[in-house]
Amino acid sequence: MGLEAKLTQDGFITTTIDSVIAWARKSSVWPMPMGISCCAIEMIAAADPKYDIARFGSEVMRFTPRQCDLMIVAGTVTYKMAQVVRRIYDQMPDPKWVIAMGACTSSGGMYRSYNVVQGIDQFLPVDVYTAGCPPRPENLLNALMTIQEKIGKTKARDYQNRSLKELELSQI
């Protein structure tokens, strides 16, 4: 943003609250690493110094859903696991986003069989699908940037007064 230069000149900036909030949100997306099989290895690689997801403000992989706003579903989701994934998703506070990482989560991938959910979009609202088996870390970073772009366009009030009717309180 070139903030520093601005601040040394005038000492203040004019902007809208919406864009400040969107900027803050998109620059600190905390992922929930839902690593359930091989794709998780590439997700971990994206966090290492070579690919360094910290450049995008997302280095804080939180293992508690209460502190996350992005769920990276990395791995094969079976019907049995789907219940768990959904329960964790439900525990994440709004606003929240989902990356379907890899062929398995996007479409069932090579597991065209009875026990694997053929695409997690059957039970989760997916924002970005990532191709590959597994996708390279660059690909995941690209997905993250796409999400950031999406967040940048949101308004703060988009997430206010959202009805809770869909939420199954018993599940939380």
């Binding site: 049995k80 069989s113 009875y114 059957q122």
Partner: protein, 164 residues
């Protein structure tokens, strides 16, 4: 006397006609026993001082789909004393497929038999805890049976409904 003859002779002498078939395919000795004798055979193989098949390596099954005795239970046992792996088979009628559990002889049969129950629907009598191994409780089918479609039966496994 060679190892295979020793095992076959001993089992033959003890079980006689209950030993239905002895096959030796690609150097793998395989004994087929009448299914009501499986526990006795297991005990014999484990406790005979010359054999000592103390380790059960695997329990699985075969679904022949069209054969009259539709299922075959398969056991792999190992003897440290002889350094030898033996295969045991028992043919099982369909409707309903039942066979006695070998858990009293080999404790390791517990989870193997649960898996075989889960995948093939073979009931193991006297099993201490015959629950499903992989599929969720409440699932009604047995996926490795030949009449089970590979993509599953729609609606048989519940999904959470879609979040907004």
């Amino acid at each position: 006397m060679n190892l295979k003859e020793l095992i076959t002779d001993k089992v033959k002498k003890k079980f006689g006609a209950a030993l239905e078939e002895v096959s030796d395919f690609r150097d793998d000795l395989c004994l087929t026993i009448k299914n009501d004798q499986i526990v006795q055979l297991a005990k014999f193989l484990k406790e005979d001082p010359e054999l000592e098949f103390v380790m059960l390596k695997d329990v699985t099954a075969i679904d022949w789909a069209t054969r009259k005795k539709r299922f075959t239970a398969v056991y792999h046992v190992y003897s440290f004393k002889l350094n030898y792996t033996l295969r045991i088979k028992a043919n099982i009628d369909d409707d309903p497929p039942v066979i006695e559990s070998v858990t009293p002889v080999w404790r390791s049969a517990d989870w193997y038999e649960r898996e075989t129950w889960d995948m093939y629907g073979i009931k193991f009598i006297n099993h201490p805890d015959l629950r499903r191994m992989y599929m969720p409780e409440g699932f009604e089918h047995h996926p490795l049976r030949k009449d089970f479609p590979v993509l599953g039966i729609p609606g048989s496994l519940p999904l959470p409904h879609k979040a907004e």
